[in-house]
């Protein structure tokens, strides 16, 4: 494997997590009553994605083959 695919995956999920999470914090909460049973899913799921992305980056760093 020439580059660790966990790095782009980690970066993408961190980006998506931040986008969703921040939007969940600042966006109009009315959309959650209209769609997602009143749950702020953007914030909740954004956090999950952020954690998943961070875990991928951490694994990529920890498992980096030593020369």
């Amino acid at each position: 494997m020439d580059f660790d695919i966990r790095i782009p995956i980690g970066l993408l999920f961190v980006c998506l997590g931040l986008l969703l999470g921040v939007y969940g914090l600042v966006g109009d909460p009315a959309i959650y009553r209209a769609h997602s049973l009143g749950v702020n899913v953007n914030l909740a799921w954004g956090l999950v994605l952020l954690l998943f992305g961070a875990a991928n980056l951490a694994l990529a760093v920890l498992l980096k083959p030593r020369p």
Binding site: M1, D2, F3, I5, P8, I9, L11, L12, F13, C15, L16, L19, L20, Y23, G24, G27, D28, P29, A30, I31, Y32, R33, A34, H35, S36, L37, G38, V39, V41, N42, W45, G46, L49, F52
Partner: protein, 597 residues
């Protein structure tokens, strides 16, 4: 779609293209481009193995079948895919990977002869182009129906009808760029990313959907019991929603169609052949199967929820401050819309006057209902990701088979590696263009899965017998294999031409020669087409093999089980051995079957 949704889609497309470019830096030889340099670890190949199959047709089709047939759809996984994936990992991969063949048709060339390879290569190339075209058609139609592109199109002064063209063009272009640049490695790396995105996009849908209907108990309360059982009523085709009986189900779907697809379809097998060693190659389908068996919960349950909300519409949101009257009315309407008759433009009804539902919209409608701006962008991205992974699977399989099994075999035999690499890139372009053409041709079936199953029955069902005879019976000959394949394909066509599902008119659904037998459902007809085709191929292969000269045993080492030393898997700790992993996966599948019987 709001600005945040577009931002999410844009970030995704950016990453996909970037991975293509990163993979391209190390793509210098034919082996790099067509086989990802045989350098990838098992978990990467395993996730790509799932993703390549997880096209838009699978994601939308499984939701559609969930809404139409209920939990019985899980048979496509629990007696279909899982046992077949264990079989290919434990028993067949040693010959695919060990023979050093570069493609599945090339295995047939090594094991049998040129004409068997040619037959398989040409029918397979045709099938991949059709399948990726259908997938593209499904995605483009969906984007049009969901009105996702209406606002930007209106901004450009274009009509709604352009949504289809724009969706086809852009999605095809992205896939073209990352495969053209990065070859199989670009495709596989992206498939891993797409796998996680598909899970990330659909998991909240399942959670919100189940929450809205009151969990599994809520489903039980709002749907008839036959929706929630996979095995109940399987003794009589009229007593279950699939309209099949257990023999057709277990032989047709469980054995012929699933083994035909997972064990011989090069689109799938190619992912394992990119692994870095034999051990990884064998574990690839097993890792995939261990995750795949939980996919019914991700893909079929949304269909069930959509059906529950269609049968008994419950307002998802109370009218109140901040909720528009229109949004409230929309959430109280039945979720799955009625199918529109293409000829009259009016809502379609069946022969009893009952409304026909557009099941393909089950999952997408649920997405629009429950995902607010933000998460909606992620859901659309998941749909895009599934489409791209499915299409990339077809395109990489197509460019390899075209270059090695058609171009190198029949058009230009001796050329430099750089020349074939160039041809592979051109084939990628042509494959994408042909898929676009097929997308515009695709129409006329009310459930995409039925069409896919029909194509598989014609192409994959007979070829399973050929591979099984080739790998496990050393007496099988090239003449036997070729005449078996030809006879099996003719048998599939004859069976389809002589039978018809109840309630359909002779034509594309069957019966175009004459109707000898009527099946209770289209699915039953497909399963039995596969069974007839496989059996014909098997019998003809055996008979002709005995009538022709036996192959020289010295040429069969590494290609046939009885002539090949067993892979030395006892050098690993016991729990890493393919047979042990396979056993664990099978036990898991049995448990799921028992729980949802």
């Amino acid at each position: 779609m709001a600005a945040i949704d577009w931002a999410i889609v844009a970030v995704y497309i950016l990453f996909v293209l970037a991975i293509g470019v990163l993979a391209a830096r190390r793509t210098k030889s034919g082996t790099d481009f067509f086989l990802a340099g045989r350098s990838l670890p098992a978990w990467v190949c395993g996730l790509a193995f799932i993703s390549a199959n997880l096209g838009a047709t699978e994601v939308i089709g499984m939701g559609a079948s969930g809404a139409k047939y209920g939990m019985a759809t899980a048979h496509f996984y629990w007696i279909g895919a899982i046992p077949a994936m264990v079989f290919v990992g434990v028993l067949m991969m040693p010959f695919y990977y060990g023979s050093r063949a570069r493609s599945a048709p090339e295995y047939l060339r090594l094991r049998f002869d040129e004409k068997t390879r040619g037959f398989n290569a040409i029918s397979f190339a045709l099938m991949t182009v059709l399948a990726s075209g259908i997938s593209m058609y499904a995605l483009a139609k969906l984007i049009g129906v969901l009105h996702l592109l209406d606002a930007p199109l209106a901004g450009l002064g274009l009509s709604h009808a352009w949504a289809f063209h724009v969706a086809v063009l852009i999605s095809a272009l992205v896939v073209l760029v990352y495969i053209y640049a990065g070859g199989l490695k670009g495709a596989i790396y992206n498939e891993v990313l797409q796998f996680f995105l598909i899970v990330a996009g659909f998991a909240p849908l399942v959670w919100l959907g189940l929450r809205a209907v009151g969990g599994w108990h809520g489903l039980q309360a709002s749907l008839t019991p036959d929706y929630l059982h996979a095995w109940a009523g399987m003794t009589d085709p009229h007593k279950n929603r699939l309209g099949v009986e257990w023999i057709g189900l277990s032989m047709g779907l469980g054995f012929v169609l699933s083994f035909g697809y997972w064990c011989t379809d090069f689109l799938i097998v190619q992912r394992a052949m990119a692994a870095d060693n034999m051990d990884s190659a064998r574990r690839t389908p097993l890792i995939a199967a261990s995750l795949k068996m939980f996919f019914p919960f991700l893909l079929i349950v949304p269909g069930l929820v959509a059906m529950a909300l269609t049968a008994a519409p419950t307002p998802a949101a109370p009218a109140g401050p901040g909720v528009s009257a229109a949004a409230h009315a929309a959430s109280a309407a039945p979720l799955i819309p009625q199918k529109i008759d293409g000829a009259t433009g009016r809502p379609a009804v069946d022969s009893n006057g009952q409304p026909l539902l557009d099941y393909d919209l089950a999952t997408p409608s649920l997405l629009l209902r429950f995902f607010p701006a933000g998460l909606l962008g992620l859901g659309v991205t998941a749909l895009l990701a599934s489409f791209m992974s499915g299409m990339a699977g077809n395109v990489t399989a197509f460019n390899t088979v075209w270059t090695y099994d058609i171009y190198q075999a029949y058009i230009r035999r001796e050329a430099s590696d750089a020349h074939y690499l160039h041809v592979g890139r051109l084939a990628t372009l042509v494959g994408v263009l042909l898929s676009v053409g097929a997308a515009y041709l695709a129409n006329g079936f009310n459930n995409i899965m039925d069409l896919i199953q029909l194509i598989f029955a014609f192409v994959n069902a007979p070829v399973l017998a050929t591979f099984l005879c080739g790998m496990f019976w050393k007496r099988a000959t090239g003449h036997g294999a070729f005449s078996g394949l030809a006879a099996g394909t003719v048998a599939a066509a004859l069976h389809h031409g002589l039978t018809l599902p109840d309630g359909d008119l002779p034509g594309i659904k069957g019966g175009w020669i004459g109707v000898l037998h009527a099946y209770p459902s289209e699915m039953a007809q497909n399963f039995w087409t596969a069974i007839f085709s496989f059996s014909t191929c098997f019998v003809v292969t055996v008979l002709v093999s005995f009538a022709t000269l036996a192959p020289d045993e010295a040429n069969l080492v590494g290609l046939v089980r009885s002539m090949t030393p067993r892979p030395a898997d006892d050098s690993y700790v016991w729990w890493r051995r393919p047979a042990v992993l396979g056993g664990v996966v099978l036990v898991g599948a049995v448990i799921l079957n028992v729980i949802f019987r």
